[in-house]
Assembly symmetry: C2
């Protein structure tokens, strides 16, 4: 079986996923939303469920009220260089193992989970707890504590509820060097290959393919982002159907270029 | 109308697209393949047709027989540092306005079209002309001469043949800093917004969204890459259906971060 060669893919927003709040049981909520969506969304083997990291973070209660954050001298100095809110910079530093680039309006860090991204993935939109008092905030959301683990928890719950060997991607939307606009990326992966290595396959002229490792989970996240958006639609969960892959044990960590091999670190 | 908010997307490989060769009329071939695919693939407004840049390059005859390439001293010196074929390095330099990074096994350049990518996007798989003599080669393929123009030509042909206001993306597969694996990106765009600017929209809590510009055309290319692959399937053309967007005049150039604003240049 080819690992991931589809001739037709469907990308469908799972309807009626509520806005999540701290303490919500995300797997149970996703299982229920899919069950209530009717037979068309009944899960099959090799379906992939993509969940926006924001929903995972909300369920985990990763909210921070900026008015409670005291920036360190280092954060203040850095915020001066980036012209950002020193409290956001303070949180970004706490979340990170190092700064990749700092410039006006730009703070790119290496998140403690290994992702290189702006502001440690701290999210300033839809970041307010539903029960927050009107005088609190502004609020921000940190990335999930352990998105690979969250993905695996959801995968297990979905497989248990439906019997289908599904994959799960926890997605976020990152900016990039060289190119404008954000794209969906996988920050958590369970049950599907994060990377799809085609190097063993022959090309059309029987030459072995070189340098052909596809970031499968990132492309799944990008496809889902076309449907889920990050905005007012409240679409946190997306079904991607049509891939074929061997159920696997890879994680989003597999997608990270080792620091020593990154010429842009 | 929201610009690009879909709740359901279909990504379908267009069947029976032949391997293209120099001089082939790509728009006519794509129009015919879609017509022969039957009513389900009959084009509608806001359908997007994604064509692999390799197919465009083949139709344009962008083949180069490496045995005919004489590396310059600069290419030889650089190839020594990157441990690559000096003839490929020579072509990469000819295709580029500058070198971004050179290291063992790594040559990232700024292509004359503005893309920052490995080896100027030179392709060493499926890169042989069908009528090449057995003793020739090895062959490589350069990126299309003007992929935005190729996209626009195909868009015009498809709209003329079907009456549908479609978008066209010419896609390639690029590596990335920080993350392993390649992802589909748009190197040519016509008829759809390359970037989707959501900054004017309100988030779920009526806070204006910040920093929310999505690389729509890149994500369409990534979704198509899940179906098209780059390998033995010979799937050069993909239909992405379900987006909504205002027909627009953007190009892939809109996706390029200006050199002076790129902290990773």
């Amino acid at each position: 079986m080819p690992i991931a060669c589809a001739s037709r893919l469907e990308v469908v927003a799972v309807p009626r996923v509520p806005i999540l709040n701290a303490g919500d049981d995300l797997p149970a909520i996703v299982v229920r939303a899919i069950a209530e969506a009717g037979p068309e969304l009944a899960l099959r083997d090799a379906d992939v469920i993509v969940v926006a990291s924001k929903a995972v973070s909300r369920a985990e209660g990763r909210f921070v009220d900026l008015s409670t954050v005291e920036p360190s001298p280092a954060a203040r100095e850095l915020a001066g260089r980036t012209a950002q809110d020193p409290r956001v910079v303070e949180l970004a530093l706490r979340e990170s193992s190092g700064v990749s680039r700092a410039a006006p309006d730009v703070l790119v860090v290496r998140h403690r989970l290994g992702f290189v991204c702006a502001n440690a993935g701290i999210d300033q939109s839809n970041a307010r707890p539903s029960d927050a008092s009107p005088s609190s905030g502004p609020w921000v959301l940190l990335l999930p504590d352990a998105p690979d683990r969250s993905a695996e928890g959801l995968r297990r719950a979905l497989t248990q509820a439906t019997g289908a060997a599904v994959g799960v991607v926890v997605s976020d939307s990152f900016g990039r060097p060289f190119r404008l606009g954000s794209v969906g990326v996988a920050v958590g992966v369970a049950g599907l290959p994060a990377l799809w290595d085609k190097r063993g396959e022959a090309d059309l002229f029987d030459r072995r393919l070189e340098h052909t490792v596809t970031a499968l989970a990132d492309q799944v996240a990008a496809a889902a982002d076309l449907v889920a958006g990050q905005g007012a639609e409240g679409r946190a969960v997306t079904l991607v159907r049509g891939l074929t892959f061997e159920p696997g044990g890879q994680t989003a960590a597999e997608l990270l270029r080792p620091l020593g091999k990154d010429v842009y670190a």
